[in-house]
């Protein structure tokens, strides 16, 4: 059983982090980010060609993390590979010691840096979870027996608490659970009221939810997220103080605001997923402030 699974099973408030692999083979920066957070999180998500921008594969970074005795969460999107490739990757990841896998549909190819490439979407988040579940039971999606069963995969999925209509989110969340999702990480959220309302609907499923936050570095970033990231709303109450703060004070203000939010949502869910986006160095301080 992965450490992540164990921690959630025990009911400990569980913290995960996230890194984005670089475009190129220089991993210095990437390992620098890992260094800041590694002692404060149970597991680290590694994104899969995030925002449809081509980078080092998620699986190879995850495998290197395993070598470093750290626990990765392998993100798999359905944009770039069909069901044969994805299932093969799952087996390969397992053989390399990767246990946590997060299933995502993935952004459309047109969003990234190879906009003319073929959008695959042979599977989507739900059918990918199903593929993992059937493989855990010893068979692939075509019903063929596996030689050696990856029975310890810990299947994760994502959900967007701020999505409209939220009813559709909950229906899809339920579908993901039926397909085998054992934990959820959420899209970034900043309004405790919205999160509370969402959790009211979601807690009946009794599947652990890790509340996601992207650390907001500036008012500009907040506005960008409000305008361009679906289902994410940064409230004015968070933007104004960042606008008012001087450039030097901004990290401190930002961390304070994030800490306040985390303290508020802590009783509502089972953990926290921090996407620091380059501000990994502030993560320990942030968690200290929350006594986590």
């Amino acid at each position: 059983m992965s450490r992540l699974q164990e921690s959630l099973k025990k009911g400990t408030f569980t913290i995960t982090g996230e890194i984005g692999p670089p475009k190129g083979v220089d991993l210095t920066h990437c390992w620098g980010e890992v260094e800041y957070i590694k002692d404060r999180v149970v597991a680290i998500n590694v994104t899969d060609n995030q925002s449809s921008v081509m980078r080092i594969s998620s699986q190879s970074i995850c495998s290197l993390l395993v070598q470093k005795k750290l626990e990765p969460i392998l993100q798999i999107t359905c944009r770039d590979r069909n069901r044969l490739a994805i299932q093969g990757d799952i087996l390969g990841a397992y053989a390399q010691g990767i246990r946590n896998i997060l299933a995502l549909t993935g952004d459309h190819t047109t969003a990234g840096d190879h906009p003319g490439s073929k959008p695959v979407f042979d599977l989507d988040s739900v059918s990918l979870l199903t593929a993992m579940s059937t493989m855990k039971d010893g068979k692939d999606l075509a019903g063929q027996e596996l030689e050696g069963v990856p029975s310890d995969i810990f299947c994760g999925a994502i959900v967007t608490p701020g999505a409209d209509p939220v009813e559709m989110q909950l229906i899809k969340m339920e579908r993901k659970i039926e397909a085998g999702a054992q934990f959820f990480q959420t899209q970034a959220i900043y309004d405790p009221k919205v999160f509370e309302a969402f959790m009211k609907g979601a807690s009946r499923f009794k599947v652990p939810v890790l509340c996601g936050i992207v650390i907001i570095k500036s008012a500009g970033m907040a506005n960008y997220m409000n305008n361009f990231v679906p289902g994410v709303i940064v409230p004015d109450g968070m933007i104004q103080p960042l606008k008012d703060a001087s450039k030097e004070d901004r990290p401190k203000k930002s961390i304070e605001l994030m800490a306040e939010f985390i303290r508020e949502i802590r009783p509502m869910c089972q953990g926290l997923h921090i996407m620091a986006m380059g501000w990994e160095k502030y993560v320990p301080e942030l968690l200290d402030m929350c006594e986590l």
């Binding site: 549909t105 952004d107 599977l123 989507d124 988040s125 739900v126 999606l141 579908r175 899209q187 679906p230």
Partner: protein, 239 residues
């Protein structure tokens, strides 16, 4: 020319399971030419429905179902029987089903799977598109095609890219799953979301050779093929 194949009876009755009163709308255009439509098929379906304890509330043969305005005006004269109808069975290509669904507030059920709808002047789609996926899902999606209205052709519901009802791919493009969700909600059929088959069978995208080489295939094909090729094919068949 459109190439459809009638859905197997078993699938048809699965889709119609919860409905009693059925009204049949059929296209008088392309489906007539490819043996998947027309009055003959309507009569055949009527018999089949009655035999299976369904009530047929009426029928309408409209050429062409892909022309929404025409569908709307023709169905207007069937208001009475449509009031007593639980679902409309549409005998056409995927576009005809979508066009009909958008004109009525009843579930529209496709009687055919569309393999291809290329060329030929019979096709008059406005915003509706059919990619000939060969496994028509419209019965479960409120008559809105998930393959062509969703930029990722998803089968399992909306992705995280939907915002204000629009798709992540293009600001002005409606999110197909947002449309489907709202339509199913209106119809009181959100449960359908759980019934959609999870995986596509991409073999069905390909038009089988048998369909390509019959006279159902494009008329052009008949002309393009030289007499001898046809003769040879016929001889081969007989042998």
């Amino acid at each position: 020319m459109v190439v459809n194949i009638p859905k197997p009876d078993k699938e048809l009755f699965n889709m119609l399971d919860e409905y009693k009163g059925i009204f049949i709308v059929a296209c008088g255009g392309c489906p007539v030419g490819c043996d998947s439509g027309g009055m003959e098929r309507v009569k055949e379906l009527e018999g089949l429905l009655v035999k299976n304890q369904k009530k047929v509330t009426g029928n309408a043969l409209i050429d062409f179902l892909c022309n929404k305005a025409l569908v709307g005006s023709r169905l207007a004269s069937h208001i009475e029987p449509l009031r007593n109808t639980d679902a409309v069975l549409v005998v056409s290509c995927g576009i005809g089903v979508q066009a009909t669904a958008s004109m009525i507030d009843l579930p529209a059920i496709p009687a055919n799977d569309t393999l291809s709808s290329q060329g030929m002047q019979g096709l008059w789609p406005s915003s509706e598109r059919c990619a000939g996926c060969g496994t028509c899902y419209l019965a479960l999606t409120g008559g809105i095609c998930p393959i062509t209205t969703c930029s990722k052709s998803l089968l399992n519901g909306m992705c995280g890219g939907q915002h204000d009802g629009k798709c992540e791919v293009e600001e002005s493009r409606d999110c197909g799953w947002y449309l489907i969700f709202n339509r199913l909600k209106e119809l009181g059929k959100l449960d359908n979301l759980k019934k959609i088959p999870m995986l596509r069978d991409y073999r069905k995208l390909d038009v089988p050779d048998k369909e390509r080489t019959t006279t159902r295939w494009a008329l052009e094909k008949t002309e393009v093929y030289s007499e001898t090729v046809w003769k040879q094919a016929e001889e081969k068949k007989e042998a």
